[in-house]
Amino acid sequence: MIALVERHPWRAAVVTVAVAILLFLIFAIWPAWLVGLIGRKKVFLNALFNGITLGGLYFLVASGFTLIFGLMRNVNLAHGSLYLLGGYIGYGVAEWTGYWLFAFPVAFIVVGAIGILMQVVVFRKMEGEELRQTLVTIGLSIVLADLLLWGFGGDFFNIAAPSWLSGPMETFFVTGVKRSTGDLIFLKYPLVRIVIFAASVVVGVAMWLMLNRTRVGMLIRAGVDDRDMLSATGARIQLVFAGVFALGAGLAGIAGVVGGTFQSIAPGEDIRFLLASLVVVIVGGMGSITGAALGALIIGIAEQFGSVYFPTYAVVLTFLIMVLVLAFRPRGLLGQA
């Protein structure tokens, strides 16, 4: 840490100042001139929290995408369709059984099974032909999107969160001072979003641990680095491929349930989340889980702040970030050359 600071004194100084400003903005009671400059603190904190939680959702979608890409060099453009499918399955299960939590394993297993099917039936036949695999995923996404439209219609579905998760939760972040009594006003935030964000952090940490601390993770990392060498050492690479595809697809399915609770699911959401995960992994770096987390956080926060502070071009802002990252780091922030 100290060595890093000594090596880049200016960069360290800029980062320290930025962190200090951010901490001030989050914890301090805003003086009047600041409120006059950028609006009320409640709006700012809400945008920040919404951004972070949205980043959690983006991470869930993008981590599967980046995992599949990193190992198999397969850009799965049907990933958004898997997300949407997971959402619909989750809705069906939650409505049918009445248990919200039950929707997650079902979506994970069903969508993961479809992922295995895709890997075994389609992609194994065209191994090493990256472009053709990508084209096939485009075809699959067109077909899946139309089948889902056929099956579920064009309506919006919203998965209802259970009663113990609904309603706001009082946090310890101060938004202001009550003028009449002088009491502090604390931020209220929807509990379900906080729980979902915590869950995505747990998923991220679990994935990191699995990749870096277990035998399977070792196999996967070895496959990412040199696929041919790994299969030459006798590892059953096809099994690893199928497993990773199942995991990535299953994560997309879970993300669909989360997205259906967070927002809603409808035709067109597949493209939206496909694009979001594309941008996230381009910004964060292809094939890197940590990069996906960083990218998801950046894009989620940028999207929310954009929609609050300059609503017209909020969508364009995320692409602008992507272009900037590409211009200076073509492999993404944490991508390896």
Binding site: L140, I142, L275, L278
Partner: protein
């Protein structure tokens, strides 16, 4: 006798063109004599336009190895520029400049846009390029949808009409047919020419082995960016013609769906030869126009058009890496093979 010897040594240029090309050309040239206005305007006009845009993708992907999903955005950009600088029903924004200013200006700006796109996209390779151009295409879509001062937001521009040049109404089916046919043929031949010109050959070299080309002293990045710039011209002209055909341009014209459609067209047709782009466009237009009837005949709901296209696309990609052209050449080699001399699946 001397003439026979001469032709045997080097056949004249028209003798080297296969008979099928002559027939296709003549049929297309005399099409208005026997085809109705709907066929001329909707089917063939649209085929040529989509074919030109797919041709620009075919040029990049087939010769340059760069699959760009941004070609539809470049086409849409050129169409927007014509609407903005020329005439449209949105008189607040449209400048109303004459055609001989707006059309070159639109093309120049489209080339600039494509150059910037290419400059960003060539930093990446292979599948990364698809993703980055897809992201650029969607950025363009969202930007045009949100921007009201220049691009007139969600509704876009309507009433964008071609100029009344030489006293001809260029939106009349026959005139429009010949206009699109001319440009399609022009860009088809131009692409064939460029593919054998030094620049096209260097581009194919860059596709096959960038490191070796770099070692030979070619500037790999410059060739790739130049390919994007060149490919912007057929796409831009296609975009302008598309705008004139429907007399309007809106964000949906260059949305994510149409961008992927162009890729579908180019891949269905085949990325190896410029003809593939037009074959793919023809198949796509026929499907899009008649899918409703086909589906109803088969007993399905007419709305399942995308399912049909998606399954057809999957089938083509799954069985042939080179689209209809690839299937055709494979079928021809297997058909023309002497089974006694070359048994088995191997082609001689």
């Amino acid at each position: 006798m001397a003439s026979i010897a001469d032709t045997a040594a080097a056949p004249s240029w028209y003798a080297r063109i296969p008979l099928a090309w002559w027939i296709t050309g003549l049929v297309l040239l005399f099409m208005p004599a026997f085809a109705g206005e709907f066929v001329l305007y909707q089917i063939f006009g649209w085929t040529f336009i989509l074919g030109m845009i797919a041709l620009s993708l075919m040029f990049l992907a087939g010769y340059g190895g760069m699959v760009s999903l941004a070609q539809m955005s470049i086409a849409g950009f050129a169409g927007y520029m014509v609407a903005i600088f020329g005439d449209s029903a949105i008189t607040d924004i449209s400048q109303g400049w004459p055609w001989y200013v707006t059309i070159p200006l639109a093309l120049v700006l489209a080339v600039l846009f494509a150059t910037v796109t290419g400059w960003l996209a060539v930093r990446t390779e292979g599948i990364y390029t698809i993703m980055i151009t897809l992201a650029i295409a969607s950025a363009f879509f969202y930007f045009t949808r949100q921007n009201y001062t220049i691009f007139n937001g969600f509704s876009g521009f309507n009433g964008v009409l071609p100029p009344q040049l030489f006293g001809v109404d260029w939106r009349h089916p026959v005139a429009f047919y010949y206009l699109t046919l001319f440009w399609a043929a022009f860009w088809f031949l131009a692409t064939l020419y460029v593919s054998r010109a030094p620049m096209g050959l260097a581009l194919q070299g860059v596709r096959d082995n960038p490191r070796r080309m770099a070692a030979l002293g070619y500037n790999v990045t410059a060739h790739r960016v130049a390919a994007y710039a060149v490919a912007a011209l057929p796409a831009g002209i296609g975009g302008i013609l598309l705008t004139w055909q429907s007399a309007q341009i809106s964000p949906g014209t260059a949305g994510i769906g149409p961008a992927i459609d162009i890729l579908v067209i180019a891949v269905i047709g085949g990325l190896r030869h410029p003809a593939g782009a037009f074959i793919g466009a023809f198949v796509y237009v026929i499907l899009k126009t008649f899918a409703l009837d086909i589906l109803v005949v088969l007993g399905f709901d007419g709305e399942r058009f995308n399912l049909l296209v998606g399954l057809g696309f999957l089938a083509v990609v799954f069985w042939s890496s080179d689209g209809i052209l690839g299937l055709w050449s494979r079928w021809r080699t297997s058909w023309g093979r002497d089974r006694l001399r070359f048994p088995g699946r191997r082609t001689p």
